[in-house]
Amino acid sequence: MLEVEDLAVSYGGTTALAGVAISVKEREAVCVVGPNGAGKSTLLAAIAGGVPPKRGRIRFDGKELVGMRAENIARLGISLVPEGRHVFGTLTVEENLFIGTYATSDRRYAQSDAEQLLGYFPRLKERWRQPAGRLSGGEQQMLVIARALMTRPRLVMVDEPSLGLAPKIVDTIYATLLALRAERGLTLLVNEQSSDRMLKFSERIYVLRNGRILLHGNTADLQDGEAITRAYFGFDEHHAPATSEAAA
């Protein structure tokens, strides 16, 4: 469904991605794991058309995305939930939720889609007419995921959904993503810094570090986490932190 080949992106003189290749099949859940600054966010932003690549190819259903505008990529059925939530703070929860339906999906479904999503996130219903800027971090994360799904995407990319959230809320969010995936046949591409959730959540994992893919494999084959840990912290580092929290 999605094929990224030799993707390179730089900001000014700094290289963020140095020739990355990944692929995602229809209905798969794939995770990109890596430390802060590895280039995970850049990878998703480049696929969504938010940053222009220096070279490389990004194909979705065989269609080249490089050079396309972000809004047209969204219309093809790719939805990005960027890191840091990005709710429209002065717009109400309702306005935030429907914004994507004006442009992308058939508006006939908007109302029933919203009701279905509010079933997963009942908290949003209680806050319906409030400015989204007043929601708590967890509620904002729920809102941006619901908002992304309102565009009826086939591929949903989520950038660090657990960043800055309580573990219990993160559990809810992942459970909902999996439930929605089953219900709608979604394909998921998710970035994470910590790999333990990924092992439960995904079918395949890529480890990204310093703008390169260092490891890639089926989640089932990587269950002990040793290889991921080594790739994550770099093969050459002798004093890799060994605390279970960081490595798990």
Binding site: G49, G50, A70, E71, H86, F88, E95, Y102, G133
Partner: protein
């Protein structure tokens, strides 16, 4: 008391004009981070569109001689076209540039428009009699209110109401507000960047057109820098109000006008010539106390 009421209405009317122009500037800044110094020249252009292009000293009315609603529509169409053209020829090509670059480009657009006006209309100021019956004064319990002030205030109320409805109640308006807050995120959700930007230019053009008609009815004289002082005060108004907030832009417009008109009325005679220094002094003080303006916006804080 009569004196105070008279001054108050003067300030309200001047504030309306500032608010109109400040909204036009604020709208473009909100979505594009463009501080458009060519905005004053769009206002000038709207006024010049009323007469037949010629370098003669005497102005011959063209559009200006039509019925009033036709004048409004025709001038709005011309100014909106010019605003869209400035986007198409200049700003569209530097979308990703930083705000300083955009601002300098707007200076260039401003010079081009001013010199085109010089080329086609000559450099001599021309007196134009637009809607002079609006200078009729209505006497009301000791107050004398020029009809033009009432028209200015009403026109501003109508436009502000219309703009509010558009932004709050229509799908396009909600997309514009989203784009003003987080342009990239809006595009990730399928909002067409060029559509909302074009709409912002068009609305700012309508506001400039109305401002130019009101301004010309007031001054009665065309010059190639007609709109520049209004643009400067409107720009100050958006800074005072809080860059990036439309409510702030309108509030700032009224605040600057009230400061200016009341200082004019109540400063001692010898200090009156320095009124603007006092106005700007107040602006500086206010910015020292509230650097992000009367109505600060989160969107701006995040981006800068």
């Amino acid at each position: 008391m009569i004196n105070f009421a008279q001054t108050f209405i003067d300030a309200l009317s001047l504030g309306s004009l500032y608010a109109l122009a400040a909204l036009g500037i604020g709208l473009l800044f909100g979505i594009l981070r463009l501080i458009n110094f060519a905005y004053g020249d769009l206002i000038t252009l709207g006024a010049y569109a009323l007469i037949i292009p010629s370098t003669e000293a005497v102005a011959t009315l063209f559009i200006g001689g039509w019925p009033w609603f036709m004048v409004i529509i025709a001038v709005a169409v011309i100014v909106v076209a010019a605003a869209l053209l400035s986007d198409l020829l200049v700003f569209r090509h530097i979308r990703r540039a930083d705000p300083a670059t955009l601002m300098i480009a707007s200076f260039a657009v401003s010079f081009v428009i001013q010199n085109l006006i010089l080329m086609f209309y000559g450099s001599r100021p021309k007196s134009v009699d637009l809607w002079s019956n609006l200078n009729y004064q209505i006497a009301m319990g000791g107050l004398r209110i020029p009809l033009l002030q009432i028209v200015t205030i009403l026109a501003t109320l109508v436009l502000m109401g219309g703009l509010t409805l558009l932004l709050k109640r229509t799908a396009l308006g909600i997309q514009m507000r989203a784009a003003a807050e987080d342009f990239r995120m809006a595009r990730y959700l399928g909002v067409r960047g060029n559509l909302v930007i074009g709409l912002a230019f068009a609305i700012s053009g309508v506001l400039a057109a109305v401002a130019s008609l009101l301004l010309l009815s007031q001054t009665g004289t065309l010059s190639q820098t007609l709109g520049v002082p209004l643009m400067l005060f409107a720009f100050i108004a958006t800074v005072v109000g809080g860059m990036g907030s439309l409510i702030g832009a309108a509030t700032g417009g009224f605040a600057v006008a009230f400061a200016s008109v009341f200082l004019q009325a109540y400063l001692p005679d010898d200090l009156r010539p320095f009124r603007d220094s006092f106005v700007f002094g107040i602006v500086i003080l206010m910015l020292l106390l509230r650097p992000s303006g009367l109505v600060p916006t989160k969107a701006l804080v995040e981006r800068v």
